[in-house]
Symmetry: C2
């Protein structure tokens, strides 16, 4: 026998260099097996998958650390909306070529977020593509048996509640594209930075997951725009809703842009990328939900009511008139 | 209230048309939720993820039904090698544009395979890309608690066993690319078709999963080439191996090509895409394993022995000489 050792392929050495350090969970098998393992713990496993494509979901010059965080966080947002605690994720990375200057900060930020949200890397696949960079993550969460929170389940009379503020990410994207909002905030660097940060680095409401599980009759995350996503929740629940548009929580920057007439309610409610939680809370549990949210440090606000019917939810302005939207939400095709 | 109904987006109608009919498992939530669910059943969940990219893992003119089957089956092959029974999968589809002529046969074949292998579609994500078509599947399997079969665990003296035949897929790809093998089989349409079929439609050894779980000390699937994959299994187990090259199971077509000198042992053992099971079986369990494999209808053959050491496994020819390979396995980068 000669004393050769296995020459690592480019793919293997890429995984060894950047991703093995992240795979500290025993179920990851140190990334040197064909598969990973989620230990059975008695409850159910919630599974969510979201892919992001360069030039579609993020911009080619977005910093790689923000791309990593966004790829993971959009999935964590789904888990939170289902009332699930993060359990781990697998990563598919389609790359044109292994570029250390991009991969190093990408992997470092991914590892930081995996630790921050207690959602370890379990496995993945790295493939070559002649096309744009693509990151697909499938994330897993745990809920006690039978306790996953669905989109269906909202009842007439329930309050419509959202977390955080709505519309910031869409305005942040507009700033990056030098749209009308850019001129409106030319003199306000802090507001610009906040809105762009909201686009690039979503804040998954993991801390709210337990309260959602305990109090919500239905929930989802707002990823394609509040109006369209509420329509989906209502359709799944067989109900409609009336939203008091003036109660939609806005950041100071978004409000300033609306006041100056450079941002409209349309872009606020249909822009997407909010990654806030939208849920229906029965009236008699609202106070307890708000209390739990306050303890978790997540702002929530009741913005409307679930009503009977199959109509698309209506958004009512301060004068009591229904607002007509050009489009409800973002669609890829 | 006006009596509007939600206008489905292109993305939603694509999902409704092609994928909702496949999502019959209750855990899929009819694909109208943010996530899917794997019911807890006491055991562990094995997770595997594999992506295939047009122009890299499949050819642009490969029939869409074969692309669907390959995308799912490469994952089913991993589950089988880990001793896991299929439990479901999620699909990420990155498309340039929704093309009915492509999507209809793709979805139909995917549904057929999901039924055939009892691995239901649970959820997914459909995104637009300006680049090549890409399909990423994350599949789940169930094993009793603590019973997943690892790459590590092979012991000195164990037999090295493979299922099926090796090298056919690599020769099939060569035929499609009109390589040397094409001339060698110009007159034999049946052999051509068989080899191309082995490239396009892997046969995951799901039927062998239980026998692997019961008898193998270590296992993996052969996806990147027998030589390189055996090296990985040995490295994970801290052992080496000696393979009797003449015992590597070959199809009649592959043997004919070797006999005519148009296919070499190199392309047989390093070509990849075999999706056969490679495992180590302790000597005293070999007979029981072979019996279980026969009952499952899967051909298996012992081709070598696990030996001590850290050297790359050696392949010995009929004259007792070690064969030197140019490369061990396929690598993307």
């Amino acid at each position: 026998m000669t004393d050769r050792t296995t020459p690592p392929s480019g793919e293997d050495s890429l995984i060894a260099r950047y991703f093995k350090p992240l795979a500290t969970d025993p179920g990851a098998f140190n990334l040197d097996d064909d598969a990973a393992m989620l230990k059975g713990q008695g409850g159910d496993i919630v599974v969510t998958t979201d892919a992001i494509v360069e030039g579609v979901h993020f911009l080619p010059d977005d910093p790689p650390d923000t791309v990593a965080r966004k790829a993971l966080r959009v999935n964590l947002s789904d888990l939170a909306a289902k009332g699930a605690a993060p359990a781990g994720f697998v990563l598919t990375l389609a790359l044109r070529s292994p570029d250390d200057a991009w991969l190093a900060p990408f992997a470092c930020a991914l590892g930081e977020d995996a630790t921050l949200f207690q959602c370890p890397l379990l496995g993945g696949d790295t493939v070559a593509t002649p096309g744009p960079l693509m990151i697909s993550i499938t994330a897993f969460g745990r809920v006690p048996s039978g306790r996953v929170v669905r989109r269906r389940g909202a009842g007439v009379g329930d309050r419509v509640v959202v977390s955080g503020t709505i519309g910031d990410a869409a305005l942040g994207l507009e700033l990056l594209k030098a749209g009308p909002a850019a001129a409106g905030l030319a003199g306000d660097a802090a507001a610009r930075e906040m809105l762009i940060g909201r686009y690039r680095i979503p804040q998954p409401r993991t801390a709210l997951a337990l309260a959602v599980r305990d109090y919500a009759s239905a929930a989802m995350d707002v990823s394609d725009g509040l109006a369209g996503d509420l329509a989906k929740l209502c359709a799944a629940s067989g109900v409609s809703a009336a939203v008091d548009a003036a109660r939609i929580p806005l950041s100071a920057a978004a409000r300033a842009l609306m006041d100056r007439g450079v941002a409209g309610i349309d872009s606020i409610v249909s822009g997407g990328d909010d990654y806030e939680i939208l849920c229906a809370i029965p009236e008699n549990r609202l106070e307890a939900f708000e209390h739990a949210a306050a303890l978790a440090g997540v702002a929530v606000r009741s913005i409307g009511t679930i009503i009977a019917g199959s109509a698309v939810p209506s958004f009512i302005d301060a004068q009591g008139r229904e607002i007509a939207f050009k489009r409800l939400s973002y669609s890829h095709f």
